[in-house]
Symmetry: C2
Subunit: 368 residues, 2 copies
């Protein structure tokens, strides 16, 4: 077992579980997956910054999928950006994937805008605005298909990374975790340093009213919570995590959106504990506007947070430095992709190599 | 390098190339894929026996996909059968996959009936009747997406099996190989021992008239041949074979439908030679109503036929014995799945083990 971990990686929560899992995947070959989805919740003005305008947020996940698969976006010109030109965290995930030559599959977790690259279809359709109180269709079917897919992906891999790109997803995460009583307050993240907490609270409160539920009502009915006030990515990814972690270690990658997925998966199948870590970034851990560590405390520290110590403070690009000022912070499994690259290379890949690769990719993308 | 091959396997064509490829995959872990698709050509009465009625032929591929993924069909009751109750060759592919614990992914190569299990989507839509002269939409896109998928699948596998289930596919294979001038006569297979050659010839002749082409006209335009008179599976699988065989060995599995795919792939990218074998069954090789060996001679013996010596003549079930009388013979990559199971187990799995497993699966399926 690994006695110590490289300085590129940090741990919050059960350190022994984290080291045990990292030891299992050290030097091993895994597969990265990204589940892209849409929830119309992201088109409520002000909710999501993952896109230059509310409408463009629907293109962010699919464009991220195209970037990961073929290195360029097809469904939009250029790359997904937040207002101010801050590039998608797919740039970081791409760097980690390219350095480690990891295989990567896209999963359609319910897209209105369908990526123009091959992807796994699990029968998911895009999510409605949660204020309808009927957010997700066919939740059981897409969860079960996620499980089947997780089992299938486990057969030929030493570990699996499960991640997501779904604009508006912190609002649906907030709703689901409140419905499950995992959190009592709004401590989820945002891709903006000005986390629009009031608006998110209002949207979630409206959704709860229409769905006729209160905080903690659905503590043992996570899929019901997804159906009423969540997004389809959550059901699909919870299924994949449960299916794959039966036999291989899983890194569930993302910010507080993935916390919600882990909470759902752990409630349905507590046996995932011991074979799952939550991969994320230092930016997420240190965010003053959200508290992913407190959420982890509430779900279980036995599914520890393992974060990559990426640091863009010396970047020549303001748009990348913005990550240090609370922008973006996570998404497209960028933290987990880095953890996976570091682990699968037995620590040969480190933050400095990834940093250089990100800049190479970024320079290449903006030159186009 | 393997000096000799086990008695469960036979070779036709360039034996050195076959042994070289089998040596590369001996004891190695690969992934099986099955590309399921529909062409409305199968609904022309008399063309296809892969289904109890012309309409049911559209359900055969999707039901096969469900069988491979979860062990039971959802889109139909029971399992796909030919008239007379002869079960789908998926039963044989399942046996090989279960014995070798091989991972298996379904690819939607253009389905009208969509399987109720996870599958790869490459943007393919079902094929029209070839007598329209406009058989396949978006042929370049689905070919290119196939290439992307092939490359992605190659990253985490030591070898890949590419196969198909597409009722009506021998007629589209006939049309494409005639258009390319690969064959001059109707020597393609059929899932019936009474190969309806006259009807197939008439349908192909009508298609050529409408498309305004003659035999051999499209010798260097294989994707054009697919677009006019082929089926979407052909374009997707040709792409996958080309994409994957850049880096790993590929077993292209099937009967003369797969011959057409190999002809297309080899015309577009001759570099596939050396990294591809055509996996099939003894039943196919010995069929008196078709001549897969002559087709192989015409395409190139350097992509050799490697066949499994399965023998159902002692089966207690008439419906399985029917395979010895010229029924079914191939499909759902059953021959290639057996070759892959034998090779990946370093020869520990043999025809006798597979035979027993087929009967176990068959007994289980008919008891339901």
């Amino acid at each position: 077992m690994l006695s110590k971990i490289p300085s590129s990686i940090g741990i919050y929560g059960n350190k022994k579980n984290a080291l045990k899992l990292l030891s299992k995947i050290w030097g091993k070959h895994g597969t990265f997956t990204c589940t892209v989805a849409n929830t119309l919740t992201s088109t409520i003005p002000g909710i999501s910054n993952a896109g230059d305008t509310p409408e463009l947020t629907l293109f962010t996940g699919p464009a991220d999928a195209e970037l990961l698969s073929i290195g360029r976006a097809i469904c939009i010109n250029g790359v997904p950006i937040n207002p101010g030109g801050i590039p998608t965290p797919a740039t970081l995930a791409m760097a980690a994937l390219q350095l480690s030559d990891m295989s990567c599959f896209i999963i359609n977790g319910g897209c209105k805008i369908v990526p123009h690259v091959p992807f796994f279809d699990v029968g998911a359709t895009y999510g409605e605005k949660i204020i309808t109180g009927k957010a997700v269709n066919n939740v059981k079917k897409i969860f079960e298909n996620g499980k089947i897919l997780g089992k299938a992906l486990a057969k030929n891999n030493k570990f699996l990374v499960v991640s997501e790109s779904c604009a508006g997803g912190t609002t649906t995460a907030l709703a689901v975790m409140l419905a499950m009583g995992v959190i009592k307050d709004n401590i989820v993240g945002s891709s903006s340093p000005k986390n629009p907490k009031k608006l998110k609270n209002k949207v979630v409160a409206d959704a709860f009213n229409v769905a006729n539920i209160k905080i903690g009502d659905l503590i043992h009915e996570p899929l019901k919570a997804v159906e009423l006030v969540g997004d389809p990515m959550q059901a699909v990814n919870a299924g994949i995590i449960i299916g794959a972690s039966e036999t291989i270690p899983v890194i569930a990658g993302g910010g507080t959106q993935m916390s919600a997925v882990i909470a759902i998966a752990k409630e349905i199948e507590p046996k995932i504990i011991g074979n799952v870590i939550h991969g994320t970034t230092r930016w997420m851990i240190q965010d003053t506007e959200s508290d992913i560590c407190a959420i982890n405390d509430s779900i279980t520290n036995d599914i520890p947070l393992v974060y990559v110590n990426m640091d863009y403070s010396k970047s020549p690009h303001n748009s990348l430095q913005a990550y240090e000022q609370g922008y973006i912070k996570e998404g497209v499994g960028c933290g987990a992709a880095c953890i996976a690259a570091i682990a699968s290379s037995s620590g040969k890949i480190d933050c400095s190599m990834i940093y250089n690769k990100v800049h190479e990719i970024y320079d290449d993308l903006i030159s186009k």
